[in-house]
Amino acid sequence: MNRSVLIRIATPTPARIASTVNNIRIPADDIETTDAALYLGGGMVIGGLDHLEQLINGIADRIDIIVSGVTPQTQALALSEADDVKGATIDIGVVFFDGAFQVSSVQWMAQYRADKLSIDRTPTSSGKAPDRTISLSMGSDDTGRSRSPNAYFTDADQRRRSSTDAFFSHVAGINQGTSRLFGPNQ
């Protein structure tokens, strides 16, 4: 099966990138509302889409997509537009081609929220051209940098609410890996 990856960033003017070499047009559906929308190829997506996790029960996921083939002008543009992209919805899908490389179907796989756009210029070995890339960090809606840490309920917390309740009296002695028998003391 011939297939490529689609990335749609819902900024005011949506950005559309495909991992194909050539530009392709994608038919309208629930996600891509413009019919025959043009997805840009060429600047190949070079990394970050090795795996997508299906989110079940709110488990958070975060991925970075990396785009190559970036000219200095594009990088400057990416920096100036970095604010627009923050918080934008990003849909990632797969386009399937038939044997003649015509679009046969599109399946949208995951939805993320854009976090941070950064540019990178990695020097390679001496005498070689450095790799210039744009990275876009994105997370599922359950991730957030301001999320509070896990809370622990202690015996003192419970005694404050009900001074005679000893239900949490052994909590302090429980560490990870400790097993305790449930029920009255033997």
């Binding site: 011939n2 070499v21 050539n22 392709i24 025959a36 840009l40 060429g42 490389f101």
Partner: protein, 212 residues
């Protein structure tokens, strides 16, 4: 847009080919391996090696090579590279597109077109031959046929890679001078033996930067 003719530099090995991003589905328990293509149809790559230029009486070859490399600006300047394919024995055989069979709006990504071969054809069209279409914004692009069939009024060409930019009825199909807009991706090194003889190698890749 500058032109680059590999035939001027006596490359012994010329390897233009359409490459892509093959994806393997892994090998199953029964030994079967599923394969797919991930680049949406591939792109051209051209390896040239084992050149033999220069010598006491051919210093102009060295200078021409040096000038060509300087003009490429380390690959930042695209060039129209003429493949100099010896398997193309055509002469005066420009065809005309009569139908764009598949593809998207404007012929983008088409891989099947019908053409009328030009008059004065030097050889019959055979699958495996290449042709060039000159697109308005994407420039000259090469295509490689995988099948050629006879249809009413002409020949049906099935080819890769998919059409860049677009193609319309009436466009000229050049079977004679196969050329493609490419960028040099190799080092411009040209070590000179005895200060006079060079044996450089070059690699080009199809230029897929969005035309402005």
């Amino acid at each position: 847009m500058t032109d680059f003719y590999p035939c001027h530099f006596n490359f012994l090995k010329i390897d233009p080919r359409v490459v892509g991003a093959p994806i393997s589905g892994g090998t199953a328990l029964n030994g079967y391996e599923d394969r797919g293509e991930g680049s949406g149809g591939g792109f051209w790559r051209l390896d040239l090696s084992d050149s033999g230029i220069g010598g006491r009486n051919h210093k102009d070859e060295l200078l021409a090579y040096r000038a060509a490399q300087a003009g490429a600006l380390n690959g930042s300047n695209p060039e129209t590279v003429h493949f100099s394919d010896p398997l193309i024995p055509f002469a005066g055989a420009a065809g005309v597109v009569i139908t764009v069979v598949n593809g998207q709006s404007g012929g983008l990504n088409a891989t099947i077109i019908d053409v009328t071969p030009g008059t004065g054809v030097g050889a019959a069209l055979v699958a495996g031959m290449r042709f060039t279409l000159v697109h308005s914004t994407w420039g000259a692009r090469a295509y490689e046929t995988s099948a050629i069939a006879t249809v009413s009024g002409g020949k049906r060409l099935t080819f890769i890679p998919p059409i860049r930019g677009g193609v319309t009825v009436g466009d000229a199909v050049d079977f004679d001078d196969i050329r493609c807009r490419m960028r040099r991706v190799s080092d411009p090194s040209n070590l000179l033996g005895m200060g006079l003889i060079g044996t450089p190698s070059l690699t080009f890749q199809e230029d897929m930067r969005q035309p402005s």
